[in-house]
Symmetry: C6
Subunit: 74 residues, 6 copies
């Protein structure tokens, strides 16, 4: 894999949230490395509310990590 | 996306809880960017108890983060 | 919404646990604001063991937050 | 409810684990207050491996709390 | 139950991980105390990928606890 | 099992993320020790979006641990 995670530090909370999204997506990306298959699966979860909530949960866990790394941007 | 997360700091716990709800919803919003589709999906989970519990779980995870950021409003 | 979360501080652990239950329920309450519908859904999960475990999990996550806020009542 | 949670402090880790089990069960108990119904549901999850894993997960979350409260019995 | 959890302290990270596995299994063991039934259920989850992931999740939660108890073996 | 977890310390965040993936996979590996069966199960979850999200969640939990162990690589 390319370098995709140079640091957990971000300037503002919203960038931290977007980094959490990236961290969540990478978890699927390492397991299913074909971006073609991942794109094919997308409609299956992007229109299923429980699937969206599950994705949101993974983002929430990573956002805890990123927020702590940034001392909550205080 | 617009600026939607200027800070994790809130004046009182209840505002912190409402920020946690916003953080939970954004997780779905970034994945399913069509607000039209999200509205269409709403009845599917708003009347399903397990779906509501799942949403509540994501809120709980974000509330941990927001509460820690605010030093538990002590 | 009314004021429902003035503080995370409680006198004893059991009150903290009961606050965690309230925090868990509010997560569903903000998403499904009709108390009539919520009451209608109740039998669906109150007699389903996995649904009860899921609810218990959300309580557990909030109890972590409340316990930390109270420095574990030490 | 009776007093059932006087403290999070236990003498040894195993007692802490057993307290975590109690905390997990209470989460269902507050939601489904009929012990008769809870007993009736028991076979449904006690012989279902995923249900057992879900219960184990709630215990794990509470054990984090109890272990932190006891400074990991160090 | 016998004494099975004398301490959360381990010499190396891998022993800590193996302790996390034990903690995860005990969660099911306290709920389904018949080892005969647990053995009978084993094939149901050991060949189901989502069941394996769920088990792995419980291990992950306990590993957080054990790693913190050991100050991350630093 | 061989020695597979000498340390939680990594040089950079991305190596920490990859260690989290290893920790997540080991959770299944200890439960289903046949690598042949694990390979057979792979297509079942690598093309199922919810399964991928579940795997991503376990990685997220382990990444919290690894990131804390490394003081967030600050």
């Amino acid at each position: 894999m390319d370098d995709w995670l140079p640091s957990l530090i971000t300037k503002i909370p919203q960038e931290g949230y977007e980094l959490a999204i990236k961290l969540a997506r990478k978890g699927s990306g390492y397991t299913q490395q074909s971006s073609e298959i991942r794109e094919k699966l997308r409609p299956q979860y992007a229109e299923n509310p429980d699937s969206l909530t599950l994705v949101s949960q993974v983002i929430a866990i990573h956002f805890q990590t990123v927020a702590a790394a940034n001392n909550y941007w205080k």
